[in-house]
């Protein structure tokens, strides 16, 4: 559980911000109840887990919509300067993850979802296609566009202009 909790939390924080902990708990409770219905390897379990998390996210967004509360994601983390002498070391600092999440939030929803599932969930193209109910070709296109946009964002270092 622990080794997938961190990616799961980051994936949820990417979408819902502060409510990620609650949605993660709901996700694990659902998994605990339905574990008998699952069969597969670890990669398939991750796909199932993140599929469950996506559904819990949708439920959470609906609850928030009913409460007329817009999930506020505050990007208070400064964008890491790409031109630094050791960008990898910069990225690995305590704020590195938050910086990466803030960067991903600048992507359109569909591209962000594909990149997040590929990177955070560790799913391959076909598994992402199953989770998102898209064709593998569509996933590749979204992935390519997302990477291109991310590359442009990081190259300019100005995420606000995207």
């Amino acid at each position: 559980v622990a080794h997938v909790q961190s990616p799961l939390l980051r994936y949820l924080r990417l979408h819902i911000g502060d409510g990620a902990d609650d949605v993660a708990s709901e996700t694990w409770m659902h998994v605990a109840r339905r574990i008998d219905t699952f069969s597969g390897n670890e990669a398939q379990f991750r796909g199932w887990l993140f599929t469950t998390a996506r559904r819990r996210l949708i439920d959470a967004h609906r609850r928030n919509a009913r409460r007329a509360e817009t999930p506020v994601v505050t990007d208070t983390v400064e964008v890491a300067p790409v031109a630094d002498s050791d960008p990898e070391q910069e990225a690995m600092t305590a704020q590195g993850t938050e910086w990466a999440l803030a960067t991903l939030r600048r992507l359109p929803d569909d591209q962000r979802e594909v990149i997040a599932l590929r990177v955070l969930a560790g799913l391959d193209v076909s598994e992402v296609a199953q989770v998102l109910e898209l064709s593998p070709g569509n996933v590749r296109v979204l992935q390519h566009r997302g990477l291109r946009r991310l590359r442009d964002l990081l190259a300019t270092g100005d995420l606000d202009n995207v």
Partner: protein
Amino acid sequence: MYEFPDDGELEALADEWTINRLLAGDLALSDAPDGLGELAVLVHALNAPARPAELIGMEEIVSAATTVRRESVTGRDGRVRRRHFAIAAALSTLGLLVFGSGLAAANVLPDPAQRFASDVLAHVGVHVDHRDGSPAPTATTGKGATVSGIARTPTTGPGKGAAVSGTASNGQSRAVTPSTTPPVSTPPVSTPPVSGAMPTTAAHPSAPTTTPPRAQPPITTRVPPTTPVTTANRRP
């Protein structure tokens, strides 16, 4: 399924193998092609080891998930156990009905059981007699009723038994009749029916060996083979 059009914007960033390594976090910065170095940094940041703050509450989550899991399993097992109990109860009832009906029809149950079985089976259309001579609930018509009527007459003696036997067997019985077989020298002792007592062959020492039939229970299905009249009649 919707297919994205090839809009010509998708010049290759790298080959697919490199992209897969990049997204999996396996592409080192030193190996990254031009333009992918920043992306590699981003991916490494996303896949950075879990921070302690991210694992706060994991114990509570695992504990709650374990509880939910246990409750789920217990609830399911409870439902399964209840279902099995219901099936076992139904099969037991069915077996008791079939087996008990056989015993009741054979008239070999103890009196209370026989009476109970007779009453219960009467509700499902199976008619068996009470051992103590009380009439079966529906033995009011047909040959059974006729035989029962003969058996209930106040007269006693071999003649009554012969009449019962003859009626029940449509005249094929070889039961003793007063006109063909002389009565036994010792006058028969009429024993009143004993309610709730099992029939026994242990007679009083002073009693004759051929005890005349007691007031037999109304016979609608069979004649007990051990009735003295029939036994005596079969002797050569």
